[in-house]
Structure formats: structure tokens, C-alpha cells
Amino acid sequence: MALSGIFLVLFLALHFTINFTSVISPETFNELSHFMGYNVIVQFIMQPILIAGVVIHFVMGFVLEIQNNRARGVKYVQYKGGANAPWVSRNMIISGAVILAFLGLHFYDFWVHEMAYKYVEANPEDPTRYYAETVEKFAPFWRTAIYVVSFGLLSLHLWHGFASSFQTMGVNNKYTPSIVNFTKIYAVAIPLGFAFIAIYHHFNPIIH
């Protein structure tokens, strides 16, 4: 859980960096996107690893949830979970499930589109199409709203998950407080950044 989580956190940082260029410089964004989309190593080694990482993470998450549920056969009549642990830490399965659902939409929006463009329709390479395609995606309000809400839950998920993964891996030394602080900042900043990108493109459509 922790290892796949950390891996996904790293990926998230990369994903964010690339996406953020779409706000600053459409050219750079196109270049980077094209590289990611057509580089053999990225496409045929890193992409499957990433997908495997996502699958491992959520399958394990569901398995753990089932196991943990079974560990208490008879439930409490009264249980004050909120008295001793924050909501986010107790409800990773909820934030996780929402993010998973969001990933479905996100894959449909970009990955399925890419696959179809490259391999099914076998269109020729066009290193300049990405920026426009991205901005266009955020034109409908409903999609932007779903993205933003999902980023909120991602933030909650990271708030607990990122720091927690260090605990699970047994990291505990004089740097721990700094590490925890960093994870909290990360958990807020990255999803906020993603949300900013989505909102930015929604309000700054390309005028044809």
C-alpha cells in the first residue's frame, strides 16, 4: 500500500509538472506531451508500470478494507471514531473510491482518446495538437466541476496517505516532523494546482 502509494505520489508530481506547463507555455506542453505519448520507453515500459501501480494500489485497498471489516465481526452499537482519529484517516476507502471513479472519467477523457487516436484510427503524428485538445476538454462546466471535486478528495486522500506511507515503511527519526510537514503541504498544493489548471482552462478557452 505504502510503496504503491509513494510511487503514485511521485507520478503525480511529474504529471503536475507537465500539466502546469499548459498554463505557462503551450509549446512546452505540446513538446512534453508528444514526448510522453510517443517515446517507446514511456509508452511500453513506464505506462504499464504506472497502470499496474494504480491497479495494485486500489485492489490492495479494497482487499484491506474487506479484511479490516472482517476483523470486527459484531459491530459496536455506539462507536465514536471521530473522538480519536480524523475523518480522512478513517475514510480512505471513500476518498479512494471517488478518486478511482474519477480515474475512469479521466482515462476516458485522455487515455482512451489517445489510444484511439494513435492505435485504432492510426492517425499520423501531430506534435501540436495536445494543448488545444486539453483546453477543449475543460470547456463544459460539469467536467471541470467533477475534476475540481475529485481533486478535493485527492487532497484528503494524500493528507493521510502520504505521511502514513512513511510510518508504514518504518521511517521514524529526527527528520520525521519535517517529512510530515512536507507531505501535508504536498497534499494541499498539488491537488490545488491541478484544480487551478482545470479552472484556468475552463475560463480561458481558445478563441477560434
Binding site: A71, G73, N84, A85, R90, H160, S164, Q167, M169
Partner: protein, 248 residues
């Protein structure tokens, strides 16, 4: 003061239990929570009913026997105490108090509020010791100086009273805090290093076999632990476990 009780009653391990309501009058703030239950039981006996059975022994917060989930929290609303140290001054006139046993698949109910925590014993038996004979023919106690800081950390981990509040509080009924406290106590001492790798592997294996849930680091255990055992112990155990696994 007058209080309303909702108490879990269950005849034996195989019966189905249910919550039963009772009302008590004349309760004073200086009474301990368990003394309040004593009064209830005296009333029940005088009416010819069977008293509510609950585990308790030292009544000073050290034996770890009492195991009551009070108003949805192990050992009740106060922190850093066991149920026997809880006093009725924590409640108000007219309060309703729900009392249940600690619940986990690994802690089956024996009767009423009494549970079977022998799973904890079995985890300890799997490796919660240093394999030294009790002949007394060891080295002098002062032959190996131990850094005070480490000795204190080891002591802090060793203060676990094995009550099971960590399991009761955890949404996953995980026994990681309990197990890691023992692993930590020995891992921090030079005497315990020799068997550290085997110890952590064996104890964790037994813990999983007993049917406890997994740790998702919610931290509820640390908050509810009457002895304030730190989550750092879980991190230490994870570290010990990882390094033992890697080394095989």
C-alpha cells in the same frame, strides 16, 4: 445523580447478545465507574436477577483487566486512564451511558462484558521474550551500560498493560500498537537485539493468524491507550519487520 444505562448482555460465547436498559439513582461523582456498576449489580441481585459480569481486578489502572467500551470509546470519555480509573464526575445527571465489551473478531465475548483476550498471550508466546535462562548466571547487571534515552524509550514501550483498548479503538481492530510495544521494548535494548529479527517475524505472523485487522495509521490507538504508548513503536516495528524480511 440519576443515570440511564444501556448495557450489552450476552449469556455465553455462543448466544446472541442484546442491549438492555437500566436506570440508577443516587450516583455520586466520587464513585468510580466500576463502583457504579457494583451498585447496579447489588440492585440486580436483590431483585433476583443475574448481575452484569465485567472483567476487573486491580482497580488502579495497572492490571489491564477492565475492557469496557463506554459511550463508543474504550475506557470511556477521559484519556490516559482505564475504565476503573474513570469516575462518575465525568458524567452529568440524566446522562445515558452505553456500555459494550471491546469488540474484535480476535476478542470473542465470553459473557456480558467479558471478552477473551488470549490472542494477546499467543502473540507474546510467539516471541515476546529474550531467550535467556533464569538461572541467574548471567553477567552483572551493570556490565552493559545502556544509554538513558534508549532505556527510557524501552521503558515507555514496556508500560503497555495489554488491555486491548488499541484494538477496541481501531476501526480495523488492529493489534499493531500492542505487538509493536513489545517488539520495541526489546529492539531498543542490547540484550534484545540478538533475536530481534526472528522475534518481529514470529510475532507479526501470530498477530495476523489471530485475525486482527491491518494498520492504516489512523492513530486512534495512541489516543485511547491508557498508557500513552506512542505510534513511533509501530514505525519501529515496521522498520524491524522490513529489514528482517529483506535479510530473510
Amino acid at each position: 445523580m440519576k443515570i440511564y444505562l444501556k448495557i450489552w448482555r450476552q449469556k455465553d460465547a455462543t448466544s446472541k447478545g442484546k442491549m438492555v436498559d437500566y436506570t440508577l439513582d443516587g450516583i455520586e461523582g466520587d464513585m468510580s465507574f466500576l463502583e457504579m456498576l457494583d451498585i447496579l449489580n447489588e440492585e440486580l441481585i436483590s431483585k433476583g436477577e443475574e448481575p452484569v459480569e465485567f472483567d476487573h481486578d486491580c482497580r488502579e489502572g495497572i492490571c489491564g483487566t477492565c475492557s469496557l467500551q463506554i459511550n463508543g470509546r474504550p475506557h470511556g470519555p477521559d484519556t490516559r486512564i482505564t475504565a476503573c480509573q474513570l469516575h462518575m464526575r465525568s458524567f452529568k445527571d440524566g446522562d445515558t451511558i452505553t456500555i459494550e465489551p471491546f469488540r474484535a473478531k480476535a476478542f470473542p465475548v465470553v459473557k456480558d462484558l467479558i471478552i477473551d483476550r488470549s490472542a494477546f498471550d499467543r502473540i507474546q508466546q510467539a516471541g515476546g521474550y529474550i531467550s535467556v535462562n533464569t538461572s541467574g548466571n548471567t553477567v552483572d547487571a551493570n556490565a552493559i551500560p545502556i544509554e538513558k534515552e534508549k532505556a527510557d524509550l524501552s521503558f515507555n514501550a514496556a508500560t503497555c498493560i495489554g488491555c486491548g483498548a488499541c484494538v477496541a479503538a481501531c476501526k480495523n481492530a488492529s493489534a499493531m500498537l500492542f505487538t509493536s510495544a513489545k517488539v520495541s521494548q526489546f529492539a531498543l535494548l542490547p540484550q534484545g537485539r540478538v533475536e530481534a529479527a526472528d522475534r518481529v517475524m514470529n510475532m507479526v505472523r501470530q498477530m495476523d493468524l489471530e485475525g486482527f485487522g491491518n494498520c492504516t495509521n489512523t492513530g486512534a490507538c495512541e489516543v485511547e491507550c491508557p498508557k500513552g504508548i506512542s505510534l513511533e513503536n509501530i514505525a519501529r516495528m515496521n522498520r524491524e519487520y522490513l529489514s528482517a524480511s529483506v535479510r530473510g
